[in-house]
């Protein structure tokens, strides 16, 4: 798992992950690249991450992938990421395509729902929590 201040170097990450697994005999490599869209007049998005829980979430996913003969990788930005640059790359490697196609979907969807990352719009220099696009994590409301 890789965390970076600001936008991701997507090409470098894609190429390095490819090289890391060049001799691992995986038949399918599916990266997912998330890029900041220009919309609603935003200049950038900005991210807070709670790293200890993100690490355990990711370690749990490594186990889930391993049980299916696959591996997962991910990189995410901390702080400001301007429009048309990328804040998120995740990937699955697996021997066969079916597992890779299933896992990338599950991995990305669970990431959106349960990775402890908070998103803010940057508009006119102000940092505004993206409340309407955020999802309560599994188990939310316990103390209510």
């Amino acid at each position: 798992m890789e965390l970076y201040q600001g936008p991701l170097e997507v090409k470098e990450i894609f190429a390095r992950w490819l090289d890391e697994e060049a001799a691992s005999n995986y038949g399918a490599y599916i990266p997912f690249v998330g890029t900041i869209r220009a919309e609603d007049g935003i200049e950038a998005l900005s991210f807070d991450i709670y790293e200890p829980i993100l690490r355990s979430w990711f370690e749990n996913w490594q186990e889930r992938a391993k049980a299916r003969g696959a591996i997962v990788k991910m990189a995410h930005s901390i702080g400001d990421v301007p429009v048309h640059t990328s804040s998120y790359v995740s990937a699955v490697f697996s021997p066969k395509r079916r597992v890779a196609l299933e896992l990338i979907e599950e991995f990305v969807e669970d990431f959106k729902a349960n990775a402890p990352i908070w998103k803010y719009d940057i508009k006119e220099g102000k940092r505004i929590y993206a409340a309407d696009r955020s999802t309560p994590m599994d188990g939310a409301g316990l103390l209510a």
Partner: protein, 73 residues
Amino acid sequence: MITVEFLGPIGKSPIEIEAKTLSDVAVKLKEDPQMAVWLDKCAVALNDTMVKDLGTVLKEGDRISILPPVCGG
């Protein structure tokens, strides 16, 4: 004493409280009007492990994290 920290956009400094279970934490946090709007949407971690049982027993030095709705990617 246990510590309660508020992550991401909640924007509240950590507090120290006396609590024997998570239920006690819930009671304390509901006293704070700033927190009332957050609690029904927030998940909870104990020493960086997600917890889902209000009866969870706490010990001296434990650290509770309050996690508001997320949106990575």
